[in-house]
């Protein structure tokens, strides 16, 4: 071994721009793409064993595009095209376009297929809905017993992952990438928060970028740097069944997935390769330490564990009963806690990239992942919005070994389950809870989890106690594409918020404090935010943090607590992500002077909303809450009940009259109890996330991560009035937005109300439905829901304007308003009415101040309302509430 290291020491350059660790298919793809960008000479790939060392056939080799989201689908599609292209150039890949046949055994699965078929138009994918008989035509082997139908994707195919990996590697070498084998990583050093050197068993290499593509070991490699890079992954056992050669087996047998039986199979070199995703996966290496040698990782096959899948396979494909066994292999697969890939720049260290957690889909993922990581490294941006796959979607808790052990039993099974709306995991729960949690649970809350937080989704008074009379922990379930089981509960909460008073737990929202000694905090925020943050103390500003292309990296509310102190409220899923953005884009001269603190876990947030909320809060505080003293969109620190120092924001994020109270955790239960008690005379009611969501969709409020992403600009979503292009500072994204203002937007955010949709029987919209204008596809819905006031399905989404050649033209108001719209829901089109502005909802309690406020608009006419000014007060001292 000593000789070998000496040999290697000669090979290893002392300097490389990029060091890729891991010679599996992902690492090979990243190396190849860097080579394509002309970075080949600057790239070094190290591998502790041999490149492509995985045993042949420890993956199924499906190159398919049946993915739950646009981003994943596009990455898979790119991978497939790339494999095809390599094949055409004569590299062996094993690629054959045999198509994929997806089977449904129940109505909901069929609905999921129909939804996919609808989306396929938008996503540029070919697919076809099949009757059971047509399924049999594509694959005569299967039994039709219990099959309701299928989805046929003709352009999917199969390949040999081993060969593809070698093809990538060979191409990468040709493009100048240096590859050093038998060289293991020992440490990744950083200075000033950026990667600068790696230490390996064969010596040190100075570098600018490090890419962790180490598959199973990605979590362990993450611990080799300071600070530790958190890559939440857990290895589980995964079986593949190989039969002996079968006579007369059609080499063009499609790749078949019988999701409801949890199994798949394909033809492979004259025999059948089959596998599946069991309900509960079997854990291995519970201490998280995975042996490096191939031999030590070989596990004996666990037939008892595979039994259920084997029986399902034989039921589904009776001819296989007679097939002879060749082998059952047991190889490792790693899963992330949400069963999605993990990519992007590590939040902990700049220029440290991660691509891991490719589940069993290495081939479908690797091409696309190589491309986007290369884009990020060489350009800083890429062609797809990656936030759902970004490594910054996690918190430290997700990397906890015991959490992973608990959660990742469940994660693999999700892979073949129906992608119902608002899906929840059953494991890893009750992890992060606000101080109100016991009280809310006793109040009937049914919970959903977001960033580990247990958040009440709705309240159900039935069956809320267990057999011992204690409040039961219940997880919200929808499990249908039609009218959800919680419809009536949410309806009642919605009405409370509109007509009386609702109380909601907003504690999961991301909360940061920004402060400095001098004026630096204002300088920083002016640079990061597109709105003008230099407003009067006590004001609240809604603003985006734009990227250089003008897209939203973050969408937040800023309250100016004092001259040099701001509090930021952002979506729950921004907790890690927005800190990364801020740190990364903090100008060097401000770095030492501005403090940014994540205070999410220090405050409990209660929102009271509805027409009586002002009277209720007045009873509990000494401060005058009339609009004259405490106008809409302003902030005050109040005493509430016996507590003080409560940060109160006169906004609700849903468009109702109301307040969000940010309460230090130790006072939270007291304040909640007082509000709830005092609210009894107004018949106060708990409201969950689904109710507040319904409110905001009807009011046309956009949320980051759901409607807005890194590719959406404020001009496209009716928020131009929140961008101050004339600010005396060149904030991030300014030039892109100026350019877009000149050229016009290519898509526009609209609200659509479906006509003739019967919410009792028709399938609902759940986001991702295609929108048709005059019969032509123009865009997709983002968030949707039932509008309890309109009594209609309400869809938010984006409308584009394609010409005959498919080029995008600018979208104008006239264009949007002149069309005739339809939305296709699981194969059925519904006529829709379009809105460009937040509508005024009919109400018994007119509140001029809020009615004048439109979250989504295109004119700047109501701008004055946004900042705290004296003429605002005079116009608003006559609202419905103050009269009472």
């Amino acid at each position: 071994a000593a000789d070998l290291s000496e040999n290697l020491a000669g090979q290893l350059p002392g300097q490389a721009r990029v060091v890729i660790c891991g010679g599996g298919i992902t690492g090979a793809s990243v190396a190849y793409h860097l080579g394509l960008q002309g970075w080949g000479k600057d790239t070094l790939l190290i591998e502790q064993d041999r490149v492509g060392g995985e045993l042949p056939w420890s993956a199924c080799g499906l190159a398919g595009r049946f993915e739950p989201s646009y981003t994943e689908l596009k990455l898979a599609e790119y991978s497939i095209d790339l494999i095809k292209q390599l094949t055409e150039r004569g590299l062996p890949t094993g690629w054959r376009q045999v198509g994929s046949l997806n089977l449904a055994r129940n109505f909901d699965r069929m609905t999921a297929f129909n939804r996919m078929k609808s989306q396929a138009v938008a996503w540029g994918m070919n697919c076809e809905i099949l009757s059971p008989e047509q399924c049999k035509e594509h694959c005569p082997l299967i039994s039709l017993d219990g099959i309701e139908g299928g989805l046929w994707i003709p352009e999917d195919g199969v390949c040999d992952p081993h060969l593809v990996c070698h093809a990538f590697m060979e191409e990468a070498r040709r493009l100048g990438v240096r590859v050093v084998e038998h060289c293991a990583i020992k440490k990744i050093h950083s200075s000033r928060g950026k990667v600068d050197r790696v230490e390996t068993t064969a010596g040190d290499v100075n570098c600018e970028y490090f890419v962790n593509c180490t598959g199973f070991w990605a979590r362990e490699v993450g611990t080799l740097s300071k600070p530790v890079v958190k890559v939440p992954l857990k290895a589980v056992e995964h079986h593949y069944l190989h039969t002996k050669a079968i006579e007369n087996l059609d080499p063009n047998t499609p790749f078949v997935r019988d999701f409801d039986s949890r199994i798949f199979f394909r033809e492979c070199e004259g025999h059948i390769l089959a596998g599946g995703f069991e309900r509960e996966a079997k854990m291995v290496y519970e201490d998280g330490v995975i042996p490096l040698s191939q031999a030590a990782r070989q596990h004996p096959p666990d037939w008892d564990h595979f039994h259920e899948l084997l029986d399902a396979l034989l039921r589904s494909v009776p001819p296989f009963r007679k097939a002879h066994l060749d082998r059952l292999t047991n190889s490792l697969q790693v899963f992330s806690p949400d069963c999605k890939w993990i990519l992007g720049e590590a939040p902990e260290i700049q220029n440290y990239y991660v691509a891991a957690g490719n589940k069993t889909m290495g081939v479908s993922a690797s091409g696309g992942i190589g491309r986007v990581l290369t884009d990020l490294i060489t350009n800083g941006s890429t062609y797809l919005d990656l936030h759902i796959l970004d490594i910054s979607r996690f918190l430290g808790l997700h990397n906890n070994r015991k959490f992973l052990r608990d959660r990742c039993k469940e994660a693999p099974g999700k892979h073949f389950e129906i992608n119902y709306p608002f899906e929840e995991f059953q494991t890893g729960r009750n992890l992060r809870m606000s101080p109100l949690y016991p009280a809310l649970k006793a109040g009937g809350a049914v919970f959903g989890q977001s960033m580990g937080y247990e958040r009440p989704n709705y309240y159900d008074q039935n069956d809320k106690k267990d057999e011992f009379g204690l409040p039961r922990f219940r997880i919200a379930q929808t499990r249908t594409f039609g009218k959800p089981p919680w419809f009536d509960h949410v309806a009642s909460e919605y009405r409370a918020c509109r007509e009386r008073i609702g109380i909601a737990d907003y504690s999961s929202f991301t909360k940061y404090d920004f402060w400095s000694k001098g004026n630096e905090v204002v300088d920083l925020l002016q640079y990061l935010c597109s709105n003008d943050v230099d407003v009067a103390v006590g004001s609240i500003i809604h603003t985006g943090m734009q990227n250089p292309n003008g897209g939203y990296e973050n969408d937040c509310s800023l309250a100016r607590l004092s001259e040099r102190h701001y509090m930021m409220i952002a979506p729950t899923i921004q907790q890690t992500r927005s800190m990364c953005w801020i740190r990364k884009h903090m100008p060097a001269h401000l770095r030492a002077k501005v403090n940014v603190a994540d205070v999410t876990s220090m405050y409990t947030a209660i929102c009271i909303l509805g027409p009586y909320s002002r009277i209720l809060l007045s009873e509990l505080t000494d401060t005058d809450l009339t609009p004259k003293n405490f106008p809409f969109f302003t902030y005050k620190e109040l005493d509430v009940g016996l507590a003080d120092g409560i940060r109160v924001l006169n906004i609700t994020h849903t468009g109702e009259l109301g307040y969000v109270l940010y309460i230090p955790n130790d006072y939270a239960l007291h304040v909640y109890t007082r509000l709830h008690q005092a609210g009894q005379k107004f018949n106060i009611q708990h409201a969950g996330y689904y109710a507040t969501r319904a409110l905001r969709i009807e009011k046309f409020y956009a949320f980051w991560g759901q409607d807005l992403d890194t590719f959406t600009t404020p001009l496209e979503c009716g928020r131009a009035w929140r961008v101050k292009l004339n600010k005396p500072i060149d904030f991030i994204g300014r030039s892109a937005l100026l350019k877009q203002r000149e050229e016009g937007v290519k898509r526009m955010y609209v609200q659509l109300l479906l006509n003739d949709h019967d919410h009792e029987v028709d399938m609902w919209c759940w986001g991702g439905e295609p929108i048709y204008r005059d019969g032509v596809y123009v865009g997709m819905t983002t968030t949707t829901g039932y509008g309890y006031t309109f009594e209609k399905q309400v869809c938010l989404g984006f409308v584009r304007n394609f010409d005959a050649e498919g080029r995008e033209l600018p979208v104008t108001n006239d264009y949007v308003l002149s069309g005739h719209y339809e939305v296709e829901v699981a194969g059925v089109r519904f006529e829709a009415k379009v809105n460009l502005h937040s509508p005024n909802l009919p109400t018994k309690f007119p509140d001029r101040e809020r009615e004048a406020y439109h979250a989504t608009r295109d004119k700047r006419d109501q701008e004055d309302l946004l900042s705290f000014s004296s003429n605002l007060i005079t116009t608003n001292n006559n609202t419905g509430m103050t009269r009472q």
């Binding site: 096959p301 666990d302 037939w303 008892d304 084997l310 029986d311 009963r321 066994l325 267990d466 011992f468």
Partner: protein, 457 residues
């Protein structure tokens, strides 16, 4: 029941608590041990039990593991659990190898001779050199000594470690070493090399071997140690004989040594070992006059000397369970052996299904699997045998496991929980019968006086 109003845990929550400290280690290479499973359920806060397992380096197939039940604080147990294995790893090396290692450039450290599994903590920096110094002194002494049989080496290692604890407390200025010396720990340690199994035990932990009788197919428990507590008459007689007749009524009182200490042998606890002079000069000023045990006339009253039992593994020996007294309070050795035995049977996972050579159709496999499944009386809730034992200890009733009983034990308030259950720590070691059979056929069983057997070569 005294406390009727306890919150009820859901089965999911119970599982989370019971499984929190689960650990499984599968030995990658062919060896006498196939795997081991451990688990721990604390009662004291912090838990006063510790456990360590390690493979011996330079001794192929050498394995040591131990369970340590601390009292009067967790310090002594934690320290002994780490250090004892290191002392033993050096003591059981052939002297020649030890000498060679010491002559290597850089010498050797206390961790040179073993590899611990699932060990994530180390001593703080101020303490490490003190311990390292004691270790170096110990191996220097070892080299001068002639090689002895394993049992003697184990006894000597126990006593030498205890001596180190005493010296460190009296000579170093770090108050932490005194803290360690004033708390105590009992230990049960297993040393295995080839077929030779030694169990060295000090105090009231227990080890029991599960053997399957090939004729009757019954599980037979074999106790591999004697607890050192007042139920052990031999032990009581030994102590009484070591002190003047006049102390007969005070040496053991209320079932405790000097009416204070339940185990009759232990590491640390130097308040029962040091001379009156040391106590007055160095201990009482620190802890006050109540630190002196009543009727303390002719110390030492306590020793760390273990009793060592030897057992040569045979093909029928399937597993060994070592556990702290927290388990034995609930279950007898024969209960434990039959529970683990049943667990093996019902799990069948330790004997993975074998596919016969030659052609077999998938349908035949499916039928075989169905048969196996029907044969499984009941799939155990827990994969881990140690968890299985804890679940039975807490929840067993005449009608099977009762969930509410477990929940009751787990939700007892902190201030009373110790009265109902002690810390429980269990390690179950599974033997590889095939490998044992191979060894027995190929080699003549080595004798005790020949520690350097061909097995290790």
């Amino acid at each position: 029941r005294l406390l009727p109003q306890l919150p009820q845990l859901s089965p999911y929550d119970v599982n989370l608590v019971l499984r929190e400290n689960e650990f499984v280690y599968n030995f990658p290479l062919e060896g006498v041990i196939r795997s081991y499973e451990t688990n721990q359920l604390g009662s004291n806060s912090p838990c006063e039990d510790s456990r360590t397992e390690a493979s011996l380096l330079y001794r192929p197939n050498g394995f040591v593991c131990g369970i340590f039940d601390g009292h009067g604080g967790a310090a002594c147990g934690q320290v002994v659990s780490k250090r004892l294995l290191r002392y033993i790893s050096a003591a059981t090396l052939p002297r020649q190898v030890l000498r060679e290692q010491m002559e290597q450039p850089g010498g050797c450290t206390s961790q040179s001779f073993l590899k611990c599994h699932n060990d994530n903590v180390d001593f703080v920096n101020e303490i490490k050199p003190i311990y390292e110094h004691s270790f170096q002194k110990y191996i220097k002494e070892l080299i001068e000594m002639p090689e002895r049989d394993v049992a003697s080496e184990l006894k000597d290692a126990f006593l030498k470690l205890d001596e180190s604890l005493s010296n460190e407390a009296l000579t170093s200025n770090d108050p932490r070493t005194m803290n360690v010396a004033l708390s105590g720990a009992v230990a049960c340690l297993v040393h295995l090399e080839g077929l030779q199994l030694h169990v060295a035990s000090t105090g009231d932990c227990g080890a029991v071997l599960g053997t399957l009788d090939p004729k009757t197919n019954q599980w037979i428990p074999k106790k591999l140690n004697q607890e050192h507590n007042v139920d052990n008459m031999q032990e009581v007689k030994r102590i009484l004989s070591e002190h003047p007749k006049g102390e007969r009524d005070t040496v053991i009182r209320n079932g405790r040594l000097l009416s204070q200490l339940a185990p009759l042998r232990a590491f640390g606890d130097f308040r029962y070992k040091w001379s009156l002079d040391i106590m007055k000069k160095q201990v009482l000023p620190l802890v006050g006059d109540h630190g002196m045990p009543p009727h303390y006339y002719t110390p030492p009253y306590l020793t760390a000397q273990p009793e060592v039992q030897h057992h040569e593994l045979s093909v029928g020996d399937k597993f060994l369970v070592i556990a702290s007294d927290g388990l034995w309070d609930f279950l007898s050795p024969s209960d434990v052996v039959s529970l683990v035995g049943e667990h093996i049977n019902s799990k069948k996972i330790l004997e993975p299904m074998r596919i016969p050579e030659g052609d077999i159709t998938l349908n035949q496999i499916s039928e075989q699997l169905a048969e196996r499944k029907a044969g499984l009386t009941r799939k155990p809730v827990d994969q881990n045998a140690a968890t299985h034992l804890i679940r039975h200890a807490l929840g067993a009733t005449d009608y099977g496991i009762e969930h509410s009983k477990i929940s009751y034990y787990l939700t007892l308030p902190k201030d009373v929980v110790r009265l109902y259950r002690d810390d429980i720590t269990i390690t179950v070691i599974y033997f590889n019968s095939e490998h044992i059979a191979e060894l027995r056929n190929e080699y003549h069983p080595p004798t005790l006086s020949e520690p350097d057997s061909p097995l290790a070569a």
